[in-house]
């Protein structure tokens, strides 16, 4: 069986045309999901037991059930109530794209909450004590000390979650959003050339994930100057003085 290049090119072209929709689903749901997760993390570590319980229940429900059923609940389930159909939110809840964004964001928020909480717990207590000793408290302490360290610690686990989200956007095709997987499914149904279409679509997703992983690796590197080895070339050259000055900064 030879490769049919015109067909592969044509398939690739049609799939790439749907790429912006996949990327938009991803970017919007990650953004909203992260905002929600910050709020849930705050509830999770709050001193009020009720808020903690609510956040725990939220995480249990959204991590314990399949995303597909959550998406169906948002898209088909809520729409059956006349009150919803007459509310101002109806234009949003009628549209499959926004329903997909809502359910993806709600789901990723549950996973991100646990990741952010892990990052928060990894902040060394000594750093917080030191900041308090310098007179920082409240929001200043959070902004200058806790948040930067916690986010840096949470980044590796969060990158995994982001890659899972890229893959999850494909579920939007089941509620009629024609993103990359939706187009792939359509071409398969028309031509029955599963293998070729799968290869093209798989390539696109792998490429997105590869670029995303590189971006996060770069971000991790950029955010951790404290973990990097001192510049070896300078030490070898015996240039001790400049290193000392850079360390003092």
């Amino acid at each position: 069986m030879g490769l049919d290049f015109p067909f592969l090119l044509d398939t690739m072209e049609r799939l790439i045309a749907a790429l912006p929709l996949t990327l938009a689903l991803f970017a919007l749901s990650i953004t909203f999901g992260a905002c929600l997760a910050v709020a849930l993390t705050a509830m999770r570590v709050s001193r009020y037991k009720v808020l903690d319980r609510i956040a725990r229940a939220y995480v249990f429900v959204f991590r314990g059930s399949p995303l597909l059923i959550q998406m169906f609940l948002v898209y088909y389930g809520i729409a059956q109530f006349p009150a919803v159909r007459h509310s101002i939110a109806w234009p949003l809840l009628r549209d499959p794209f926004s329903c997909a964004v809502i359910s993806l964001a709600l789901c990723t928020a549950a996973y991100a909450t646990e990741i952010f909480r892990g990052g928060l717990l990894a902040v060394p207590p000594a750093q917080i004590e030191a900041a308090r000793a310098c007179g920082m408290s409240g929001f200043l302490l959070l902004r200058r000390v806790i948040a930067p360290i916690a986010l840096r610690r949470a980044l590796p686990a969060y990158s995994t979650e982001m890659i899972l989200m890229v893959k999850s956007t494909s579920l939007a095709s089941i509620i009629t959003v024609t993103e990359v997987s939706g187009v792939a499914q359509r071409i398969i149904a028309q031509t029955y050339r599963t293998m070729e279409v799968f290869l093209c679509a798989a390539l696109i997703y792998l490429l997105i994930n590869f670029v995303l992983a590189r971006l996060i690796a770069w971000l991790e590197h950029a955010l951790s100057p404290d973990l990097r080895a001192p510049p070896v070339a300078l030490i070898a050259a015996g240039a001790a003085a400049p290193i000392e000055t850079t360390l003092l900064h």
């Binding site: 249990f60 059923i69 088909y76 059956q80 599963t194 293998m195 799968f198 679509a201 792998l206």
Partner: protein, 240 residues
């Protein structure tokens, strides 16, 4: 109709139908976990091997099946398998579409995905086995297989258990995607019930609740298994 009769077990109730779906979900997830265990341990061995070619094959497998949406892999197995079967059918004079059994295609697809995650779990677990114990086993004269059976396998299983619990949860949720091929598992049965009664909200809430029940119960089972296999790791009481 009240929710009680609608989701009950009476002649007009959908309770049994949904539970049947949940049973199929558990069955297909168990099958895929078994397929994934075979593939995963093989791929883990390949990734740990001396041979560059084998390591490359292992890397490609885990990268592709963890990096591509699960839905596409299910389409690949269902539609791809069916077109192969249809071609074989034509060879024997049968015209038209021959579908792969949905249970088989679904279990294979989710199993291959599960295998790519299990490979990483087993690899990590193997690396956690202390080198000293393996050397000690070699020193007392155990050969490869005996060493594997007595020293490596029991410990790898114990170290892999928490990771396997995670993979099980992932596969349980991935199995909902098999509904697109028409397999009558929980997701599909919830859809059928929702479509026939037009109570979409009620059926998806009921389906979701059953999934939550399954994840909660399996969490308990894995926790209990961890305690059981971790017995020798626990410190004896009152050593101090």
């Amino acid at each position: 109709m009240s929710a009680f009769t609608q989701f009950g077990f009476g002649p007009t109730g959908w309770g049994g139908f949904l539970l049947l779906g949940a049973g199929v979900t558990v069955a297909v997830t168990l099958a895929s976990l078994a397929i994934g265990a075979v593939l995963g341990s093989g791929v883990a061995a390949a990734k740990l091997s001396q041979s560059l070619a084998l390591r490359l094959v292992g890397d490609v497998y885990t990268t592709v099946f963890r990096g591509v949406p699960e839905l596409l892999i299910i389409y690949l197995f269902y539609f791809g398998g069916s077109s192969v079967l249809s071609a074989i059918g034509r060879l024997f004079g049968h015209e038209g579409f021959v579908g792969v059994p949905t249970f088989l295609a679904g279990a294979l697809a989710v199993g291959i995905i599960s295998g790519s995650y299990q490979a990483e779990v087993f690899r990590g677990a193997f690396q956690a086995v202390s080198r000293g114990e393996i050397e000690a086993a070699r020193a007392v004269g155990m050969n490869g297989f005996l060493r594997f059976r007595r020293i490596i396998a029991p410990q790898v299983f114990r170290f892999a258990l928490p990771g396997l619990g995670n993979v099980w949860q992932l596969s349980l949720k991935d199995s909902a995607l098999i509904s697109v091929t028409g397999l009558a598992e929980l997701m599909r049965n919830s859809q059928v019930g929702a479509g026939s009664t037009h109570d979409y909200f009620g059926f998806y809430v009921a389906g979701g609740a059953l999934y939550l029940l399954m994840t909660a119960v399996s969490n308990r089972i894995f926790d209990a298994a961890e305690v059981r296999t971790g017995k020798s790791f626990r410190r004896p009481v009152h050593t101090a």
